[in-house]
């Protein structure tokens, strides 16, 4: 078991959506500033800033941390971490390791993406294509969506999963999103809307994928020692497990298309670190960028038997206060998907649930929560397990 010496002491998040008037640096700064305020620490306490981002923004500023920190009037060192759509969780994991190393006591993690500048759909498809095998999938004509279409077909063929079961995923997530003040879409959507939409890569319809958007999310991590020395800190949520695993980048190199091996492997390690079992998890934020993503996640994370994911969603077992509440935030689908910010937004949702601050989204009883953040078609998956809030003093 890993030494429990990493805690989330504060969170900050911007509204997710189209934010034409704000630059990427400013957006990131808003989330970071809110996280610092929420932590009740001085900004000078932050020793380093880990930025998770896939492309940052249309100005191609790779060192987006520089813009963010200038906007925030901070002078820490910074690093941008890229792991495709899982860049947020990747930055979080690196900061976690930084704390456990003993070198740092207080770190900021910021996830940021600004995608509304890319007004042409084709450009975002191109950005997303960098998360699949560029030479042997993308250049041969595949898109991220078309590969998820193949994952969907594989599951439908193997387990008789239906389009109706798949459509229940975004229906549920949009229902959850109604109660999330930062979500891009806060309205319910009927199942017919999904089923009758034009197919963009059959069987995936136009409204099935999560929508890319602008957004930033930040958390402040601190060690036990730091928390003891900073009396104003009033909340600490322990990070019980944090792991990631990889798989072959190209689908055609994988042994199975009905599971995400990286999710299973990363989850197994995270459960071991936390010394808990899948059934101990009460709430999870999983990568539902496509409906099949959530079905695969709830199976590969061990919440349901392989092949039972579709039925579980259909029967409401993943609804708020179901057997396990999945994507109470609305998920990527309703909250919107600013790639790098998504992994941090997931952690913030679980943190709020553990703190009892999730408002109408709050689940009735909670000990453990989990996040799963996926790059591309699952070549890299990050899994984090957070535990019950240990309120200081």
């Amino acid at each position: 078991m890993v030494k429990r010496n990493a805690f989330i002491i504060g969170t900050g998040i911007t509204g997710f959506g189209e934010n034409y008037e704000i630059s990427a640096g400013k957006l990131a700064s808003q989330a970071l500033t809110r996280a610092i305020e929420n932590s009740k620490i001085t900004k000078e306490s932050i020793q380093s800033t880990f930025i998770g981002s896939l492309v940052s923004g249309s100005n191609s500023q790779a060192s987006i941390g520089a813009n963010c920190l200038r906007e925030s009037n901070l002078k820490t060192p910074y690093v941008r971490i890229e792991a495709g759509n899982a860049s947020g969780a990747a930055a979080f994991h690196q900061a976690y390791l930084g704390l456990l190393s003993g070198i740092y006591d207080c770190l900021a993690v910021v996830g940021i993406e600004k995608l509304s500048d890319f007004v042409n759909v084709g450009i975002v498809e191109r950005i997303l294509s960098s998360t699949i095998d560029y030479q042997w999938e993308f250049e041969m004509g595949a898109t991220l969506t078309s590969l998820y279409a193949i994952l969907t077909k594989a599951h439908m063929r193997e387990f008789k999963t239906t389009l109706e079961q798949l459509a229940k995923v975004p229906v549920k997530n949009h229902k959850n999103g109604v109660n999330n003040p930062i979500a891009q879409f806060r309205k319910e959507i009927s199942i017919d809307r999904f089923l009758k939409a034009k197919r963009i890569a059959d069987p995936i319809g136009k409204f099935d994928p999560a929508t890319y958007c602008d957004g930033s999310a930040a958390v402040i991590l601190a060690s036990e020692e730091f928390i003891l020395q900073n009396k104003d800190i009033n909340s600490k949520v322990p990070i019980l497990g944090s792991s990631y695993a990889s798989d072959n980048l190209a689908l055609h190199h994988r042994d199975s298309l009905t599971e995400l091996y990286a999710t299973k492997t990363a989850a197994a390690t995270a459960y071991k670190m936390a010394n808990i079992k899948p059934e101990n998890i009460n709430v999870a934020e999983v990568h539902d960028s496509y409906p099949i993503g959530e079905i695969l996640a709830i199976e590969d994370l061990g919440f349901f038997e392989k092949g039972e994911g579709g039925r579980a969603v259909e029967e409401g077992l993943t609804d708020q206060n179901g057997q396990v509440s999945i994507n109470t935030s609305g998920g990527l689908k309703a909250r919107g998907d600013p790639f790098g910010a998504t992994g941090i937004a997931q952690i913030i949702e679980i943190t709020e649930q553990l703190r009892g601050e999730a408002g109408k989204r709050q689940i009735d009883s909670i000990n453990y929560g989990l996040t799963q953040n996926v790059m591309g078609t699952g070549a890299l998956t990050y899994v984090n397990i957070l535990g019950e809030e240990e309120v200081k003093k």
Binding site: Q135, W136, M140, G141, A142, I150, I200
Partner: protein, 129 residues
């Protein structure tokens, strides 16, 4: 579309040239200097089988700008007769007639054009037999 990249990848894209490990005898694609299974450097170029069957496919109607000219098109994972799986488009096929298990053969097509003045990327696609 970068000229050195197009040049470097032509054997893979034009000829579907993979690799065969002379130690563990595994055939793989794409070409690598080391066997991805046993790590041996004792490898030879190996030309993939040019026929196979469709394992999975999807009809793509929304894609990147450079491929938009070809929509709707079929993308598939194909298992070649030598057991190697690759991702490729299926052409010369009525969209409604595409099916899993369909037998296909390798053909040579334009993969993408860089506008009207840039380079043209050529490579393999598959057509029904």
């Amino acid at each position: 579309m970068e000229p050195p990249k197009i040049w470097r990848e032509k054997r893979g894209k034009y000829l579907a040239m993979g690799v065969e490990c002379l130690d563990c005898m595994t055939k793989q694609f794409p070409f690598t200097e080391n066997c991805v299974k046993c790590g041996s450097e004792n490898v030879n170029e190996y030309k993939l089988a040019t026929t196979g069957k469709v394992l999975y496919f999807s009809t793509v109607t929304q894609t990147t700008e450079e491929m938009m000219g070809s929509t709707p098109y079929l993308i598939a994972i194909i298992e070649l007769d030598d057991g190697i799986k690759i991702t490729s488009q299926i052409v010369d096929c009525n969209l409604l007639e595409a099916k899993e298990g369909m037998n296909v053969r390798m053909v040579f097509r334009v993969l993408a054009r860089n506008g009207s003045e840039g380079l043209i990327r050529y490579g393999y696609k598959f057509a029904p037999i």
